[in-house]
Symmetry: C2
Subunit: 325 residues, 2 copies
């Protein structure tokens, strides 16, 4: 991977192999790769940004893969280029993405206007999401105007993904159980679009009921904005309901741009990304500062020996830093 | 709440109302309350620590409340005092705990040797977990030798809770679907004890099968430690299987203490709590530092204007701080 400039020029032409290589560069932990990745990213930044970034979340079993397969193909038919990225923090100990993403979306992965990237296989959730953010830029620079970011895994990653997309979609299965609804409240609050999948066969009526229930729930939960969250039904099996979903996506795109939310939301997102990256690096820096650390060690020991509470110790550590700033 | 010393002395006598007041103090955002809370915590620290801290996790619908009700009552019958704390980060936007915890555990909440505390209603997950940690100390100082920390909500909170307990328990329902199991891998890796609930009636056989499946899965996943994670079946409805669970809890308690893991794990936990508290406060401190901030503002603006990548900007910010340390 010596020639990042070659990767760049091919990527800008829309070459899928170059895009894949660029993402590998961004995901790499090797310092030389990292350096090239930074140069590459800086160079392609002016060419990035021109997509609708869509987060897709949903608990296991809702049929995310087949949904993305159908939606992706229909978006391509409508003239879009579709990239799919996955965020999977579900296994912090052993690492690794659970399923081969490409085998899950067979037809889509073979389409020349689609790009599917399995989730990064190592690193903390924070690290994974940083890489995903950078991968989004790369996809955009390669001409993908729809970037789907799929959360693989439960709960944990939804907030991370919602902080890097323009539109957050939650996929559900027909279920009107009270407890489930209550618990999902946090996720539902993030949703711009709520899709009830499996609106077919035996579960079709259930899906209709669920739609009404969720519409009422969203009505109560959501604050007024430029956009009122929508609830839509679909069947990935029968490929129904996708016209409405595509329409909702373009309405959202249009409305959020017209209202100025699109722009301000992206600015906010990059600022809070900067905050968290800064915070992470600063902490690392402090860890490596030997003079501070010998003092910190004493404070830490007091906590271990039960001589100080964690709160007291953190105050002391802050005091030491504050003197220097 | 003027007299924190009175609260303290009543708390140390095991008074439940004093314990409730102390937790309210710890949860309060008012600076005067906060000050009292710190004094109180410092004073009770030598009396804390003497419990088995047990995390209980499980997706909605597994029957956590009725499980805790049955387990709690049986532990009390065996001579323990049981405190139940809930962590609920599921609704970061509107805040608030979803269900009244006491009404969910009717018999347990009325038992004089039980203390049930609903989850803190405001704050970020970080804030909520810090308060939960401190509440654990308060429960211990009040004589509770079993502290159950229940995660209300999905995913997000499991890692937080596992970082503050001695033993992490995952509750499941009979289900041998492959996808579900794959996705839960991250959570299962955290589990010391995996309980299959609803081993009764129609689902009894399913529960037996699930037990075998999970036993095999744990066998593959887990590294060797002082303890091999166990899979147990129970029925909260028929109150069966709880003898085995109680036995597993005491074996774990004994083994982890004998091996030194109990002690070292607690030390590690308090150190990483200190790290995260320090980090959070440091960032706040920097935000309030006006000379740094005027320089940071310029850097931030470069990101907004597309003149710098987030990574570059964070490097610049770090450089500015590094010069001072």
């Amino acid at each position: 991977m010596k020639d990042w400039k070659e990767i760049k020029s091919n990527l800008l032409k829309g070459d899928r192999r170059a895009l894949a290589k660029a993402i590998t560069l961004v995901e790499s932990h090797r310092p030389t790769d990292r350096e090239m990745a930074e140069k590459l990213l800086k160079d392609i930044i002016p060419k990035s940004g021109n997509s609708l970034r869509i987060g897709i979340s949903g608990i296991p079993g809702v049929g995310k893969s087949s949904f993305i397969e159908v939606l992706g193909l229909q978006l391509i038919k409508a003239g879009h280029k579709v990239a799919v990225l996955a965020v999977d923090p579900s296994s912090p100990i052993s690492g690794g993405s659970i399923l081969g993403d490409k085998t899950r979306m067979e037809e889509l992965s073979q389409n020349k206007d689609a790009f599917i990237r399995p989730s990064p296989t190592t690193g903390s959730l924070g690290g994974v999401t940083a890489k995903t953010r950078e991968s989004i830029f790369l996809c955009e620079a390669a001409g993908y105007d729809i970037v789907l970011i799929e959360t693989v895994g439960v709960g944990q990653s939804e907030y991370q993904v919602s902080s890097m997309v323009d539109l957050f979609m939650v996929l559900m299965v027909p279920n009107t159980g009270d407890e489930l609804q209550g618990i999902k409240k946090g996720i539902i609050e993030l949703a711009d679009l709520l899709i009830i999948n499996k609106a077919d066969g035996d579960t079709k009526i259930l899906a209709e009921n669920a739609k009404t229930t969720y519409q009422n729930a969203l009505h109560i939960i959501k604050k007024e904005r430029f956009w009122s969250p929508m609830v839509l039904n679909c069947s990935s099996l029968e490929k129904t309901g996708f016209e409405e979903i595509k329409e909702a996506l373009s309405s959202f795109d249009e409305d959020s741009k017209k209202s100025g939310h699109f722009e301000s939301n992206r600015k906010e997102q990059s600022q809070s990304w900067l905050d968290s990256l800064f915070q992470e690096r600063l902490f690392q820096e402090i860890k490596e500062n030997s003079s501070l650390n010998s003092q910190f060690e004493k404070i830490r020991k007091n906590v271990q020996d039960g001589k100080a509470t964690v709160r007291e110790a953190s105050s002391e550590m802050i005091k030491l830093i504050k003197e220097k700033l």
